[in-house]
Amino acid sequence: MSKHEKEPMFSAKNLKLLTAPLGRNNPITVQVLGICSALAVTVKLKPAIVMALSVTIVVAVSNVVIAAMRKSIPDRIRIIVQLVVIATMVILVDQFLKAFAFDVSKQLSVFVGLIITNCILMGRLEAFAMANKPWPSFIDGLGNGAGYGIILIIVAFFRELLGSGTIYGYPVISKAGIYNTGYENNGMMILPPMALILLGLIIWYQRSKDKSLIENK
């Protein structure tokens, strides 16, 4: 019962699944999903990176599971099934981290739980995995996780640099001696509103570069 793949593993179509979420179909800046966690975990780079990785893993694996079961999932309870799959994944990831990577699990603390409520996961399962084969779904999950992660990292980079004067915990501003010129960290940067403003700036920049993203009134 061996099934031959009709298209190559990395066909142009599959590669597009990987790259589109990084730019024109970004889950945060274009689909406007997962904003909550983008505000919550971007004060420092480290939690932002760990969160980005965890979401990528969970969305890719859940996508595969749902895609594999898509033909046997009754339409009427599909949302519940999707949620059960996501929640199970997240709890498993959490349990394994606690047992084998205790430091990382401490870093993530409450954010592991937050992954369950991330709209990107439900969005991808419902929009993609329910209608596609496991392999494209896996790529789609990776792409969307990366698209989510890249925005998180950009926002966290600026918030950490301007708010705390460090990059990944390394005190760049004080090492460069900029404090001596009277420069001070911007306390506003470490509060959530500034994350929203930064996110707005990124969306603005992206739309000014790519006019096709602007909706016609």
């Binding site: 004060v43 046997s72 999932i73 059960v84 205790f102 603390s109 306390g187 509060l191």
Partner: protein
Amino acid sequence: MKEFSNRYIFIFSAVMVIAVATLLSLAATLLQPRQLKNLEIEKKNSMLESIGVESSAKNTEALYEKYITESFVINTKGEKIEGIDVFNIVQKVEQKKPIDQQYLPVFGATSDNGEHIIIIPVEGKGLWGPIFGYVSLKKDMNTIYGVTFDHKGETPGLGAEINTPAFESMFPGKTIYQDGKFVSVTVHKGGADKSDIHGVDAISGGTITSKGLEKMLQDCIVKYNDYLLKNRN
């Protein structure tokens, strides 16, 4: 989309729930010993950190044996109570008991230069959940030797900063008594005065966590008051 019968939907849900439940309980049961071990190491690690000893997951046990020389339980009158497992006392449970029935753990340590230090566990509330840590005192039972704090889920970059060296390093050398009266250590928004021997800077953007930490120190250490006064030298 194919139509599924109600019967199929019921069976599908039942099978799914049983499969998921089995998977999760298996994972939880199989991984539990490792997780508990991690928590124990973490606890020993924090204690060592509060007396300025760096340890990694591998050498924590050995260093703990080396530095932590005694452990015992006292009550709020400062009298020792025998026959209680000190290491496994749960602070949260103790704090709910009437004050005169609470068990207060004390850990004694000896530093590299032979100095005797005592370590007191503290636990309180932050913004989102519990915060906890260890405070170690020099043998005058007044000067702070070192502290370590941790939290369950404070906001990264804000309240979570309580477990960073930048915050913890403000504590050593501060004193908790003023003319024989317990005053604890207070946190000051906007920065404590340099000459203030009982005050440290609060965390910007982490006011509620900072205040919670101040209350935790006040509430937990004051219970040791009688013991500290009796044993100071």
